[in-house]
Symmetry: C2
């Protein structure tokens, strides 16, 4: 591998590598017990030795704690989802290290080399990955991005040495030579991408790669120090966190909730005729939307026993069973608990031409998790912006997002709780948590109000549905869903 | 909903439905504590009320225990994988009920109605789903397949009634009328498909759907009885299971293992030159294979400390990091334990143009699981055939499957164990299980021998690699891999 000035002696390397390996293995043991993932992204020009470095890391690290990922040109399933879906779907498991071999960055540079991409497109992609990395980093993921640096001269030397020996000539491809010739241009683009994606929590680090031994040790040590820093950062955040009493951030939302009239009346007879009318209209709107290649996401939130299940069943009775899925959102599993809270929802986002109905949703972050203190204050405070960004990404892709809060009075809820407990086949729906949540009505009203005020956007509005009268609520959802879908079709 | 002779009175229905719901919810509670999944597949002609039935079930069952699935025309990701990949990827979680709304069957019938498919193609598909259902059923999954029957006359009556009322006319599509006109032809095809896929463990049950109330109750009750039967069947199997001492099924395999010479010699110098030569040849063979749109699967098995990791690192050093993934196979997670043992491997099967290296594999079923009694005798006995079928499905798709057993002598293994324990950064590789496995060398040799004899197929042969000499073993893998890939390319 190419002559280089003052190369580290093999002996020195071996001594240091041995010590480093012990520490890295120790890191992996600790990682199993800390609630964060590690993303190690390696990029750099040909000849910088990304492949060799990956092999060294594979040798140093315990393979059971490592997953490798590569981004290629998006598949049609990926193209049929919002852009960031492909990033969310390729993340390491809990307490594991994700090695991004052919990372998104490398792929973009290869494309650039074939100059099949406009610079504007690259910048756009860079901004997407930056937003994605920001959400992960804010969520506590450690992102280590390393750019392996090598001069054009050293690159040429290395390629020539490989080519000279018949046994190693195969390692040098025509593409390598092409990249060598346009070294400057690629370096320029790389610099631009790094600049666009260099943000707190996802900084780029440039490591000189002429001396492979020195490079491998430096990368390993850097990973270690970053890991220690992250541990301290997490510990500080946890120490700093202390429960506060729930106070309204946006009283306007609370007022909107509390002033909602709940005394609607609707006879069974009127309901039956109106229902079919609106089911028909909804059916046509949904079909038109899906056939136009767009997707639909329903998110239902509401008080316990507000009747979400009934509403969803009426709604779906108008839809072809092959076109939709209902996702009941329960407490997160162990795996989900350690993942970013949006991950499980990204997983279930529909592809173009499909519809998904979430029975409870990502808003749990600013409702139950806020009230019960399942997440820190800085986390739920940040969530409003993250959720708006998430929904913005969906609607930017053409997904129609419909959000409903089913509102029942404190008295009506009590009546339904008692009825459930008195009905054998409904009893399973009740547990002590329902009663505990009920006692916290005041705190929840504040959280719901803040949610309504802070996440009510023009393209992803909240529908506040009076639900003391079940028939009225069901009809109201059919009406507003039809209207929002029809409006979206006209855009 | 169309007049029908002697329809069940609403009151009777409600009383019975109430009792049924209690039992179904109870079923779901028990399901959480039994190690099997339930697949409920609903099919039948338009007007049989699949949609309404799904809604009723959604109301009766606790939604947190239900997942719905549909099969549509395969996506390109699905087409880029072996046929059955799409079935394996859409399965319910542990102790959950999978509702197959637009099941594979329905999709095929729709296609047939548009007569875009040749009958031969349908039969082929039917055979694939049959094999898939067989593996699941053998694995303990309860598969309930219900065909909702309705006469052409009743179908017409129902469609006309819906059309007559402007409020419900939208429920009848042109496709429905088309299907009504070709009722006989579709019924014929459906009968053929049911016949092809009606097998023990995945029987079809025809339920008359003219009276919707009677139908809903019958489906619910049928699900209950099937569930109880499955519970008893599982219990019987578990009772019947008793540990037996390990005896050889195929002595020929054991002889092949025990007579393998392990005294190969290879100097560092010879190794270095030969390695680059064969790395180059392997690199070309892999590139050619992937570029031809095929995929590659490596499966490495061998004694503890046989040097699998080292072999894999040498192997991959010749491959572009973006083209392959190494999957270290550890003990199954809780989720994986309850899934079919092949599920986790199906999940990681590469798409066309990619390569996956399994560090340990599905053969654990007939090795550690057999020896340690982690599965019942009937399970590991069946596994040889299931694994052959699995690998056959891969190679039928064009995937090249390369299987290696790295063989070290009992003495050499001991030397390596001691070395590992003496080396700080290797200590983590050792645990008491390695010593326990070592004490069972005899039993394992029998299991390995049976594996070699029963799963050594022409297109998926076992490569038995002498590994007392690490350099020789690494070279041997490079050689045989290059040759098998080159041979596959000529086919």
């Amino acid at each position: 591998m190419g002559k280089t000035k003052l190369r580290m002696p093999k002996r020195t390397y071996q001594v240091r590598a041995t010590r480093l390996r012990e520490q890295l293995v120790q890191l992996q043991v600790e990682l199993k017990h800390v609630p964060f993932k590690v993303l190690l992204i390696l990029a750099g020009p040909e000849g910088a030795g990304r492949g060799n470095l990956l092999n060294t890391l594979a040798e140093w690290l315990d393979p059971r704690g490592v997953e490798t990922f590569s981004y290629h040109a998006p598949t049609d399933e990926e193209l049929a989802h919002p852009h960031q879906w492909r990033f969310w779907r390729s993340l390491p498991g809990i307490g594991r290290i994700g090695l991004y071999a052919g990372s998104w960055y490398t792929e973009t540079l290869r494309e650039e080399a074939r100059s099949t991409r406009a610079l504007g497109h690259i910048v756009e992609e860079a901004e997407r990955i930056r937003d994605f990395e920001k959400q992960l980093a804010d969520g506590g993921t450690l992102i280590v991005k390393i750019w392996l640096q090598i001069s054009q001269e050293a690159q040429g030397r290395r390629l020539r040495t490989l080519r000279a020996d018949p046994a190693t000539a195969w390692r040098v491809s025509d593409e390598d030579w092409h990249h060598h010739r346009i070294y400057q241009r690629l370096a320029e683009t790389a610099r631009l991408i790094r600049e666009k994606t260099d943000r707190p929590g996802a900084r780029w680090t440039i490591i000189d790669s002429e001396d492979e031994r020195a490079r491998d040790l430096e990368v390993g040590r850097f990973l270690l120090t970053q890991f220690r820093q992250q541990q301290r950062r997490m510990a500080r955040l946890v120490r700093a966190a202390r429960p506060r009493r729930v106070e309204s951030l946006r009283p306007s939302g609370l007022r909107r909730l509390q002033t909602l009239p709940l005394d609607q009346d609707l006879t069974e007879k009127d309901y039956d005729s109106l229902r079919e009318k609106w089911l028909g209209r909804l059916n046509r709107a949904v079909r038109a939307t899906l056939e136009s290649g767009r997707s639909i996401v329903f998110a239902f939130e509401g008080w316990d026993a507000a009747g979400k299940g009934g509403v969803i069943r009426r709604l779906t009775s108008a839809i072809d069973p092959r076109d939709y899925r209902v996702i009941p959102v329960a407490k997160p599993t162990a795996e989900e608990k350690h993942a970013h809270y949006l991950w499980r929802f990204w997983r279930d986002i529909p592809r173009n031409g499909r519809m998904v109905v979430f029975d409870r949703s990502w808003y749990g972050r600013v409702l139950v998790e806020r009230i019960e203190g399942f997440c820190r204050e800085d986390e739920w405070q940040r969530a409003y912006a993250e959720i708006n960004e998430f929904e913005q990404q969906l609607s930017a892709h053409g997904t129609v997002v419909l959000k409903y809060w089913l509102h029942v009075s404190h008295a009506e809820q009590l009546r339904r709780f008692r009825e459930r407990e008195a009905t054998p086949h409904k009893r399973h729906k009740m547990n002590h948590e329902d009663w505990r949540n009920r006692r916290q009505r005041g705190a929840y009203e504040i959280a719901v109000g803040d949610m309504l005020a802070l996440t009510d956007k023009e393209r992803t509005p909240w529908h506040l549905v009076p639900a003391d009268n079940k028939r009225y609520a069901r009809l109201e959802v059919l009406r507003s869903a039809s209207r929002q879908l029809e409006a979206a079709l006209e855009q």
